[in-house]
Amino acid sequence: MKNFLRRFLLIDLLQGLWVTFRNQDPKLVITEQYPSQRPAVSERYRGAPRLNVHPATQETLCISCNLCAIACPENLIVVGSVRNPETKRKDLITFTYDLSRCMFCGLCEDACPVDALELTQDFEIASYTREGLIWDRQALEEGPRPTQYRQ
């Protein structure tokens, strides 16, 4: 008789429904209201690349060793440099990074011996054209500039 009542009065379905109602409490809402609330990504997040400059002299930290280009699985980094006859070191001229094929795997960041190439926490890197995703040295040093919409 008890079993029949359980089935007839839909007790098992009501039990599940009670779980759903319990979770309707507004305190349990975890939705992030993007774009007014940007997510706080972690420190190690592999986002947009950036070529770091020395904070004091504003000179690039890159020594044109080409290790990042060798490490990249997709071969999308091209480093252009010229050897300086006075200091006997290589000077960086151009640095091209094809973001459209980048997997954000972090192998280039791991390979860089001087921490010049770094994958930052920027994730808003969309562009309207394919060519806009091929970043040259200036774009890499400045970082992406997403359009700021009014709050």
């Binding site: 089935r7 098992d12 379905l13 039990q15 599940g16 779980v19 759903t20 979770n23 975890i30 990504v41 972690s42 420190e43 190690r44 997040y45 592999r46 490490a71 990249c72 699985p73 997997m103 954000f104 795997c105 972090g106 192998l107 791991d110 994958l119």
Partner: protein, 367 residues
Amino acid sequence: MTSIDANELVLNMGPQHPSTHGVLRIVLKLDGERVKSTECIIGYLHRGVEKIGENRTYVQFAPYVDRMDYLAAVSNGLGYCLAVEKLMNSVAPPRAQAVRVILTELNRISSHLLWLGTHALDIGAITPLFYTLREREEVLKIFENYCGARLTTHAFRIGGLQYELYDGFEQQVNTFCDQFPAKVDEYEELLSGNRIWRERLRGVGVLDAATCKRYGVTGPMLRAAGVPWDLRKAQPYSGYEQYEFDVPTRTSGDTLDRYFVRLDEMRQSVRIVRQAIANIPTGPIMAKIAKVIKPPVGEAYVSIEAPKGELGYFIVSDGTIHPYRLRVRPPSFVNLQALDYMAKGALVADVVAIIGTIDIVLGEVDR
């Protein structure tokens, strides 16, 4: 194939279908609502990962491995690193092994959570999806804090780990382990006693143990059929022999039993994580391995217990920096062969339940 039966309807569950979990095309031959035979057509997501493997160095290939079974990227990475380490005849240090176990088990939980959400969604229960994704968010936050990416993690390197543990890792994992078993009970409360759930899943897609072995089916499907076989117990790797956990099995091998097996696996994974995080050994995180990975000429097959089944890597090395042949044995590919056997005589709605219960990820089926 040349005669046409007037009572037979050929229905195409095309590559674009919300319930096929990816680009899977199934041609159903129906007699009314009953399925007479099915034919799977795959290859819509074939990216040539094995060919790419022959053209990249061992270190460069590691990010590609995440993208095969993209829901269990950490597991894929573990299998690949173990295979190359076997060829190089080196072993990761104990600290690296413990962290690898923690991250892999968390990945198993996240893969099963997504499976549960999408499987319930296919059956018609929309609510569990939100709750499982909410829990999965916590696991993905741990991955993001550790290696910088949520889905395609590239967490492990050949020889050990790249990143040291971050401050607050133990605290975050312990908080997750404390609140997670209650959530699994919440899913059980929603689904296990529900008569609609039981009617939809009981007796559907039965695969007994002998047929499982003949098809080569592994993973939770084999365990639901009654065979208590788990590669973490049978051929332990990466320090799994130190941890105490059960291998959940059920008897009848139908869809409902696979649901129970995967729920129990989530609970056992929490148990393993708790044991591992309680005593992570100190020491180096990377083994003494050459900078340029050039394994000696030879071949090796290493397999792990991925969330979907036995994931194996067969690597043939010819002494150069590129692998000569890199074969991935995908569990979903082999498990999907059993779909035809399971779907004979079932209704069309049952076919959806069966596809969900095999737990396929097309990235792995097609590579």
